[in-house]
């Protein structure tokens, strides 16, 4: 994935050596929206993790906060720490129990959040999901920055964040590892690229997707666990966010899964090369042809 909004990006002059973090005077306040998803914990795959038809058996896997969305939440909370008075609003889509994601955010320091839930939202691919989220964000209205995880561990598409930005006409920076600086007009981040990092500055408002290599999220907080346990997560339907039902859920999803296959690598697919110069040259050529090296 490349920087989508390259024309708007500025690379700061001083990127060599250690980065001196000069934050804006903490007079600014930002409204931050965090996109998060409840996912089956695919890190705990057991024998019954898949259904016979190749889909995920969600009942067999615990539902968890998508890991990279936690990295995103931490970036949002760090902005709130740095700029007191800023707000962090969680936004998620899913069944009723996905309210847990909003509560998890609240217990870590988010101010509140919304759950998009409606049978009409069900079965959404990334296009329908990003449409639904963008309608909810429009309804929330006031925001300076939207932060989400790079991708969810169930679909691994990394498409929802960028699509939300496109639908809202926002600048976006993907693969963010750290927010270095913010002021009322712009945000400067460090993003991960192959073989290194780059520093990117973008005007606000914008959308960031955060990489798993970013700072881990802080734990839930005891005072918030007790003090905010009665927070009632507002649930929004298709009608609440003025969405077009045709663009939501299954009917709004052009993606059709044709087949899911279980690939098992076998030793017979391997190639053997000898130790002489000719064989080594052939090995290198093969690796170069497959773009594994070079």
């Amino acid at each position: 994935m490349t920087v989508q909004n390259a024309p708007f990006c500025q690379i700061p002059q001083k990127v060599k050596g250690s980065i001196i973090r000069i934050f804006a005077t903490p007079m600014e306040k930002f409204n931050i929206i965090v996109l998060a998803k409840q996912v089956p914990d695919t890190r705990q795959v057991g024998k019954d993790a898949m259904n016979a038809d190749g889909t995920i058996n969600r009942a067999a896997l615990p539902a968890v906060f998508n890991p990279e969305d936690l990295n995103a939440l931490e970036q949002a909370l760090a902005i709130k720490d740095r700029f007191p008075g800023s707000t962090v609003t969680m936004l998620t889509m899913g069944p009723e129990r996905a309210k847990e994601i909003v509560m998890e955010g609240v217990y870590r320091g988010a101010d509140g959040g919304y759950l998009l839930t409606d049978r009409l939202f069900a079965g959404a691919d990334t296009l329908a999901t990003s449409y639904a989220l963008s309608t909810a964000i429009r309804k929330i209205g006031k925001f300076d920055i939207i932060i989400g995880g790079r991708q969810a561990i169930d679909g691994d598409t990394a498409q929802v964040g960028p699509q939300v930005a496109e639908k809202l006409g926002l600048n976006q920076i993907t693969y963010v590892e750290e927010i270095l600086d913010m002021d009322s007009k712009s945000v400067t981040v460090k993003r991960v690229i192959t073989g290194g990092v780059e520093t990117v500055k973008a005007p606000l408002p914008c959308l960031l997707t955060v990489n798993g290599s970013a700072a881990p999220c802080r734990p839930r907080n005891a005072r918030l666990l007790m003090g905010r346990k009665n927070y009632d997560v507002p649930a929004w339907t298709v009608a609440d966010v003025n969405a077009d039902p045709a663009k939501c859920g299954l009917s709004g999803s052009p993606t059709k899964v044709k087949k899911i296959e279980n690939i098992v690598f076998q030793a017979k697919e391997s190639k053997r090369y000898g130790a002489d110069e000719k064989e080594i040259a052939a090995l290198i050529e093969e690796l170069a042809t497959n773009h594994i090296i070079g």
Binding site: R218, A222, R223, L225, K229
Partner: protein
């Protein structure tokens, strides 16, 4: 996995019938509901809060503290330029525990604390110790703030309690090269600096756990020319003022994550806490009781960790074509380990509950006059807590050593290698029966309650409330033996005989008390505790009968063989 969720035996201990009284007192009849969003409005609300905080701690233990334990043990703490650097893992543990909002755990909300009862604090300490016993020292010492809360001035409370709730670390600086068990010999000199309105501390402290902390409580000699405990006062030292340097840290056998420091006080600015001359005889005594309960929690955590390691290994290790946990020699050891844990928990949490009741009543007595019934209640529970604390500390720490030993035994040769956690547990356990008063000193503290019949009466009173059963009969028989041993020893009218038989008497009393409390817990939750009760009764009977047969045949002349 979560250290709380996987231990129903622990959550069962949080749901004692006494909790209703504990919570209403600790919450001063829910006076703060509505004033703070995290103050409970009733018992159910409070119990739900405890559950949430314990579950949170369990996840921090499981996700952060336990995974760090091995590297913390290997890396240890460092000392350079007079300052201590925690191992990376310990530093991370502290950061995460503070982010989780678990600082100021028992302190009043007005100082930013969570106002949690001692009973819940004990459960948190147990879980932390199971994950990494050394971290319990660093984190658990925040309870030193309770002493400032109890005896400090309003200004000191405002300053130091808020610091503690904000994650400041603490230490209690008592021991000196020539004053270990005998704290009356403390020589660190405190001189009043009238001009600057403070005190100045000069001298050396040794074996100070977490000695480079942010806030120190220091026992020092304020009365020139005195040589006993009545010349000692308690001081608060704020690290930011400077004047105390760490000369070295000890190279220890275990609990490597907990830095043990030698401190040099060089005209260090300090504040007097409470009244002069009461340092040892009042404040440190109160501090030590809390610290002893803390070691009991640490001991139970280690016992539990050792048992789990042993169970897991025995279930996987195959010899002679069978998993070794199918051999009587092995499953018997595992059952005894588990029984010791449950008997320890029954005692630890009952003691914690008594501490909660009298301390909460103490706190209320500062805002209004207690009713005669409340005064009576406070006195009763304070006395019981004083009686149960030395046996809690003494027995649980010995059991921690025994479980750690058995854990290695079950691992066989592999347990002697550093590849398994059991060798760390073995080293970490060893200090529990030494610091905050050796087992031998716990015997001294417990002996007066044995000879005055407090334990015996306590057990009889409780048994009278429980339905008849074989277990109850077995305990009654043990108490009869305890009474007979006590009478026999007292008949000798020789204090040396008392001391000589002290360990056997204290242990016998402790087995009676622990069996009774476990019986009661087992009646409340049989699924969890019935087996452990039966196993512990077998173990207790063999111990008490052994002590009985020796003590009853003893005469003062018997001691001569030992000299």
């Amino acid at each position: 996995m979560n250290n709380y969720k996987d231990t129903p035996e622990l959550s069962a201990r949080m749901h004692s019938p006494l909790m209703e009284r504990i919570v209403e007192l600790k919450e001063n009849f829910y006076a703060e509901a509505g004033k703070y969003d995290y103050a409970p409005k009733d018992l159910a609300d409070a119990m739900d809060n405890f559950d949430r905080v314990l579950e949170l701690t369990g996840s921090v233990c499981d996700e952060v503290i336990a995974p760090n334990a091995e590297s913390v043990d290997r890396e240890g703490s460092h000392c350079s330029g007079g300052r201590v650097q925690y191992s990376q893992g310990t530093a991370q543990n502290l950061k995460v525990m503070h982010q989780a909002g678990l600082s100021g755990f028992g302190l009043p909300r007005q100082y930013g604390g969570l106002n949690m009862p001692v009973t819940v604090f004990s459960a948190v300490c147990e879980m932390i110790s199971r994950a990494d016993a050394s971290f319990q020292n660093v984190w658990g010492l925040q309870s030193c703030a309770d002493t400032i809360n109890e005896f400090g001035s309003p200004e000191q409370k405002e300053k130091y309690l808020k610091m503690a709730s904000n994650g400041a670390t603490m230490s209690m600086d008592l021991t000196e090269p020539d004053a270990g068990s005998d704290l009356q010999s403390v020589m660190l000199k405190a001189t009043e600096d009238v001009e600057n309105g403070c005190w100045r501390l000069n001298g050396v402290k040794r074996f100070i756990t977490n000695g480079d902390s942010d806030i120190h409580l220091v026992l020092a000699r304020s009365e020139e020319g005195t040589t006993d405990g009545r010349g000692l006062s308690l001081f608060i030292y704020d690290k930011r003022n400077g004047g105390v340097n760490v000369r070295r840290i000890e190279d220890k056998m275990g609990i490597h994550g907990s830095p043990t420091c030698e401190l040099v006080f060089n005209n260090a600015r300090a504040e007097l806490c409470g009244d002069r001359r009461l340092g040892l005889i009042k404040y440190v005594m109160a501090l030590m009781n809390g610290a002893r309960l803390g070691i009991a929690t640490q001991s139970v955590g280690i016992q539990d960790a050792a048992w789990r390691e042993a169970v897991a290994y025995a279930a996987e290790r195959r010899q002679f074509g069978r998993n070794i946990d199918t051999f009587p020699a092995v499953y018997q050891m595992l059952a005894v380990m588990k029984a010791k844990i449950e008997a320890s928990r029954s005692l630890l949490y009952e003691t914690s509950r008594y501490v909660d009741i009298y301390k909460s009543l103490d706190a209320i007595s500062k805002t209004r006059t207690l009713t005669p019934e409340e005064r009576q209640e406070s006195k009763r529970y304070s006395r019981l807590a004083d009686a149960l604390t030395p046996i809690s500390k003494g027995m649980t720490s010995e059991f921690a050593n025994q479980n750690a030993y058995d854990c290695i035994q079950i691992h066989g040769g592999s347990g002697f290698m550093r590849d398994y956690a059991c060798e760390r547990l073995y080293r970490d356990a060893r200090i529990t029966s030494i610091y905050e008063g050796t087992t031998q000193l716990q015997v001294v503290a417990a002996l007066r309650y044995v000879t005055s019949g407090v334990y015996s009466q306590y057990v009889k009173d409780m048994l009278a409330t429980l339905p008849d059963s074989e277990s109850k009969t077995a305990i009654s028989a043990m108490v009869e033996k305890l009474d007979a041993m006590t009478a026999h020893v007292l008949d000798q009218k020789d204090t040396e005989v008392n001391d000589f038989c002290g360990r056997r008497l204290m242990e016998s009393a402790a087995y009676c008390v622990m069996s009774t409390l476990l019986l009661r817990d087992s009646i409340e939750t049989p699924d969890l505790f019935d087996k452990s009760l039966k196993v512990f009764l077998d173990y207790s009977r063999s111990q008490v009968e052994g002590h009985y047969s020796v003590v009853m045949s003893w005469t003062p002349e018997s001691m001569e063989y030992y000299k």
